[in-house]
Subunit: 130 residues, 2 copies
DNA sequence: CAATGAACACTATGTTCATTC
DNA sequence: GAATGAACATAGTGTTCATTG
C-alpha cells in the first residue's frame, strides 16, 4: 500500500476505496459488482461515482497484498445462464493489517481535511464549527 | 477552468493552486518563483509541497484564460548577472471572474471536505466538532 | 446476459534539463 | 547562477470491450 506514503497533494482514490472495501468485506461477504453498487449508492450524494474498474483494481491489489482471498462461484440456473462471480474474504493476516491500514489512513484523511479546511479559511473566512 | 466541472473523486491540484494564486496575485505583485516560495511555506506543515512546474503551469493557464497579464523585468546589476523574471497582475476582467471562480471552488471544497469527513465518520466514529 | 478484468486512452502530476539574461 | 518553462516520464484514473461460463 505504498500510496499512503506519497504525501503529495491529496489522498489517492484507490487508497480511499480500499479503506471502504476492507470494512465492507469484513461486514458482509459479497462479490465484486455488489460492492460496486454499495459504493456508488453510498457516495451518490457527494457527487462521486467510482468507476467499476477502479473498484476491481482495488480488489485485485488487496488480493495481491494478501489482505483478502478470492472464492469463485457460479450463479444462476443450470443449462441456461451461467455467471461466474467472485467473493472476497479477509484473511487472518488481513484483519490485523487492516487495522494498521486504518490508522495510517486516519492520519492521511486528517491531513487532507486540514489542507482543504485551510483553503476554506484562507479564502472564505473562518470555518463555522457546525 | 474546466477542471471544476469534473466531479470525480477529489479536487484537482491545479484548481486548488489557482485559487491561491488568484488571491496572492491580487494581494501583492510578485514574480513566479516568489509565489512558489510562498506556497511552499504556506503548505509545509500540511505535508504538501507543490512542484514548481505545477505552479508555473497554473500561472500559464491563468494567463491563457485571461485572468492575469504578464510583465517581464530584468533583475540584477548591469554587466554581471542578469535575470529575467515575470510579474503577474490581475486584469479587470480577471477580478470579476476570480469571484465566480471562488464561488465555484467553495462548492467543490465543501463537497470534498464532506466526502473526507464521511470517511472519518464511517471508519472512526462521529467527527469531533472541535 | 451480467460480471469480470484486460487493454487501451487520456489526464494529472512529477522530474529533468535547456535556455536566457 | 537563478528563474522560467519545455520536454519528457510516470502515475492515476476513466472507457471500452473481449471473455466466459
Amino acid at each position: 500500500m505504498s500510496e499512503l506514503k506519497s504525501r503529495g497533494f491529496l489522498l489517492k482514490q484507490r487508497a480511499f476505496l480500499k479503506l471502504y472495501l476492507l470494512e465492507h468485506i469484513q461486514a458482509h461477504k459479497l462479490y465484486g459488482s455488489q460492492y460496486i453498487d454499495e459504493l456508488k449508492r453510498e457516495f451518490e450524494s457527494y457527487g462521486y461515482s467510482p468507476a467499476p474498474s477502479e473498484v476491481y483494481k482495488s480488489l485485485h491489489e488487496l488480493t495481491n497484498d494478501g489482505y483478502v482471498t478470492r472464492e469463485k462461484k457460479i450463479l444462476g440456473e443450470e443449462g441456461i445462464g451461467f455467471q461466474e462471480i467472485i467473493y472476497y474474504q479477509l484473511t487472518e493476516e488481513g484483519k490485523k493489517r487492516a487495522d494498521l491500514y486504518k490508522i495510517q489512513m486516519k492520519e492521511e484523511l486528517d491531513r487532507c481535511i486540514g489542507l482543504l479546511n485551510k483553503a476554506v479559511r484562507d479564502h472564505y473566512g473562518p470555518v463555522s464549527k457546525l
